[in-house]
């Protein structure tokens, strides 16, 4: 059976402010989708809503995974069902070693029925797998002993997210700007790693501003988000066009969405200034 993640007519608000205004998106297992759009268009909101962030209220629409109602699941149930997001800004958890965090996470995701307090994956077995994955990603073994994202550079955080993707092997992964804040070499390494781990092995939704990541992970579909809606969908050539020429054509073609986007962006700026 091919797994399907289906988002239909999704409306999401933060507080009273509508952010997503009817998003439709179907991702089949093995497909790669690029999600592009100007700042403030709602790309990260889509990811956070799919994961079940408590601050994002679903006011309308559905999300299903193989027909199961994702919206009825708690965030950890979504993770155990096989949905993953690489965070744009992952949280630090001081005092908790990367290896311990991952061992617990990996156990829970691989054994979705595991009850609290039940045994974790045997240490030896886990360490072996982690070591292999880290070598594969050309990560220093010291990394596993560091505290989760604590004092990590931007690049280290993104690589840690990729390592988690590699360990958790989800059915669907949303990669929220996993290539941003990296230098050219690091972008190449991240792109290759993602291609190696996920391309055609998962359903990927790649949120990006760059072309490098998509070069290594050519998308079957490119979606453009503007003002909280997917206004256009195309193939890899659309991603290339947007990368070369920006969003002017899109803004002109969809003035209402562009206006909504401006409004959302304005509010964001006000919040940032407040």
């Amino acid at each position: 059976m091919t797994h399907v993640l289906k988002i239909e007519n999704l409306h999401v608000s933060v507080g009273d402010k509508p952010i997503l205004r009817g998003v439709n998106l179907t991702i089949n297992h093995g497909e790669t989708h690029a999600l592009m759009g100007p700042n403030g268009s709602g790309k990260s909101t889509l990811g956070l809503a799919v994961m079940g962030h408590p601050g994002y209220e679903i006011t309308e629409g559905t999300i299903t995974l193989d027909g199961e109602d994702v919206l009825a699941m708690a965030p950890d149930e979504r993770a155990r069902a096989g949905i993953f997001m690489a965070f744009q800004r992952p949280m630090a958890i001081p005092g908790v070693k990367m290896a311990d965090f991952l061992r617990h996470a990996t156990t829970n995701v691989r054994r979705p029925d595991r009850k609290e307090g039940e045994e974790l994956i045997p240490m030896r077995e886990f360490r072996k797998e982690l070591k292999e994955k880290m070598e594969h990603l050309r990560m220093d073994s010291e990394f596993a002993r560091r505290y989760v994202n604590d004092g990590f550079s931007g690049g280290e955080m993104k690589r840690a997210e990729i390592l988690q993707l590699a360990m958790l092997q989800p059915k669907f992964a949303i990669l929220d700007e996993t290539d941003s804040g990296l230098d050219a070499d690091a972008v190449r390494l991240a792109s290759e790693s993602i291609a190696d781990i996920g391309h055609q092995k998962m359903g990927l939704l790649i949120i990006t501003h760059h072309d490098k990541l998509l070069e290594h992970n050519p998308p079957e579909f490119t979606h453009v988000m503007l003002g909280g809606r997917l206004v256009e969908t195309g193939g890899p050539e659309l991603a290339e066009e947007l990368h070369r020429h920006g969003y002017d054509r899109i803004r002109k073609a969809y003035p209402d969405a562009a206006a909504a986007n401006e409004e959302m962006l304005g509010e964001e700026t006000e919040e940032a200034l407040a």
Binding site: A79, G95, V96, H104
Partner: protein
């Protein structure tokens, strides 16, 4: 304990206590003086700086009897003393007390042969007054307040450790103090390390039941002579209806090291004064503290790092997490005398508040009279971040697992400093037991 209820904290009770002790006259004199002071002293009030944040109006001394006296007939016994610091540890000796009545005391022969003395404070005060008298009440101040004076007058069943010059004890010694429900414990612990001596002492205080009440009026005195090294651990897990009033003080000399790890989990109300006096050049102290409260617990710790000699270092870290409607108070002071040049003092208190009704008061302080010093202090108070919890949940952790992990991680910095594995494990287990079911 039923046999003590007829004895009160009054002159008749005091006389009965004196009659039950076979103590040297100098010690009786100390007690009498303290008793007279206690009689004359008022209970602390909230207008006193130390008690502004700690309300003891509900505390009634009269509800508690005197500690079990040695003449009392049945020696209380508790099955399966809930000790945790000793798992897998080869000990050099141990003392067990129940309501400050010593029920067991032992020391390995090889240590005794080297002149180590470890046993009942009152017995040793009688048999070896020259080891006890010069030190008793040199760190502890019986006139500090009424609790201290009462402790000095009524202390029973104390523990004493003496490590002679140059003797290194390679196995930890264990002190286990158990408080029965409604019981009274007035234990005084005195530890003396002569020049170049080394020891590790694991001291834990428990109640027979996590919900038990009772009264602990205690004191710990750690006296270190030049070049001695002490690791001292005290884990306090009194029942959540117990009152705990104590002075815990160290005086450390030239080139000494003291690593003092304290974990305060229990009691309904604690008011503890902990201090380290660095009195010889080059002395080095590290104090690590863990507090974890729940329900309506109130734990107040007033700490001091007192630099009285040059080139000393004091490193202090307390980490506290508060649940439910509980509250912790930490008020710390680094004090530096004019002659204590080249002082290196560090003081930090971090709090993690786990409930909207919990509270942490964190008051660091510096009092510096020397001009060539480096003293830094810091204090943080934060709540568990919902974004952290969400992040962990996106990795498959339940909310409870995520909270537990974040809390454990919060304390990790203390664990990283503890070199004794059984202590790390016991602390980890104590913290894990205390973590609430969050939803």
């Amino acid at each position: 304990m039923s046999q003590t209820t007829s004895l009160a904290w009054d002159p008749a009770g005091f006389d009965a206590l004196l009659a039950s002790q076979s103590e040297p006259d100098w010690l009786t004199t100390l007690r009498r003086e303290a008793f007279d002071h206690a009689q004359a002293m008022q209970w602390p009030e909230r207008r006193h700086e130390e008690w502004i944040r700690t309300d003891i109006r509900m505390f009634q001394l009269g509800k508690y009897g005197l500690p079990v006296l040695p003449t009392a007939e049945p020696t209380p016994s508790v099955q399966d003393a809930p000790h945790q610091l000793v798992d897998g540890v080869k000990l050099g000796g141990r003392i067990e007390t129940i309501d400050s009545c010593i029920t067991q005391s032992s020391l390995d022969d090889d240590l005794a042969a080297k002149g180590v003395v470890f046993g009942s404070l009152s017995e040793i005060a009688q048999s070896h007054p020259e080891l006890v008298r010069p030190y008793l009440f040199t760190a502890f101040d019986p006139d500090h307040d009424k609790f201290a004076a009462l402790h000095a007058a009524f202390m029973t069943g104390g523990q004493f450790l003496y490590v002679p010059r140059g003797v290194v004890i390679d196995r930890p010694l264990h002190i286990g103090s158990i408080l029965t429900d409604g019981g009274t414990d007035t234990t005084h612990t005195l530890i003396v390390l002569e020049d170049g001596a080394e020891a590790t002492v694991l001291h834990e205080s428990n109640s027979t039941d996590p919900k038990a009440g009772g009264l602990h009026l205690g004191s710990i005195e750690l006296i270190q002579k030049a070049g001695s090294h002490l690791r001292y651990v005290n884990l306090q897990e009194f029942g959540h209806k117990a009152y705990h009033f104590a002075q815990q003080k160290a005086i450390i000399g030239r080139d000494c090291t003291l690593q003092w790890t304290l974990a305060a989990m229990g009691s309904h109300l604690s008011k503890v004064n902990q201090s380290v006096d660095l009195v010889g050049a080059g002395a080095n102290s590290q104090v690590n503290g863990v507090m974890f409260t729940e329900g309506r617990q109130h734990l107040a710790y007033h700490t001091q790092q007192y630099h009285r000699a040059e080139s000393c270092r004091s490193d202090f870290l307390y980490k506290a997490a508060q649940q439910d409607q509980s509250r912790t108070v930490w008020r710390g002071m680094i004090k530096v005398d004019p002659e204590a040049q080249k002082t290196d003092g560090y003081q930090r208190n971090d709090n993690l508040i786990l409930s909207h009704s919990a509270r942490a008061d964190s008051i660091p302080g510096l009092e510096i009279e020397a001009d060539d010093v480096r003293c830094t202090h810091g204090s943080t108070t934060a709540q568990v971040d919902e974004e952290q919890i969400f992040y962990a949940r996106c990795r498959g952790f339940t909310r409870k697992e995520a909270t537990r992990m974040i809390v454990t991680g919060f304390f990790q910095q203390i664990f990283d400093r503890i070199t004794i594995e059984s202590v790390r494990e016991a602390l980890g287990a104590a913290i894990a037991r205390q973590v609430r079911e969050y939803e």
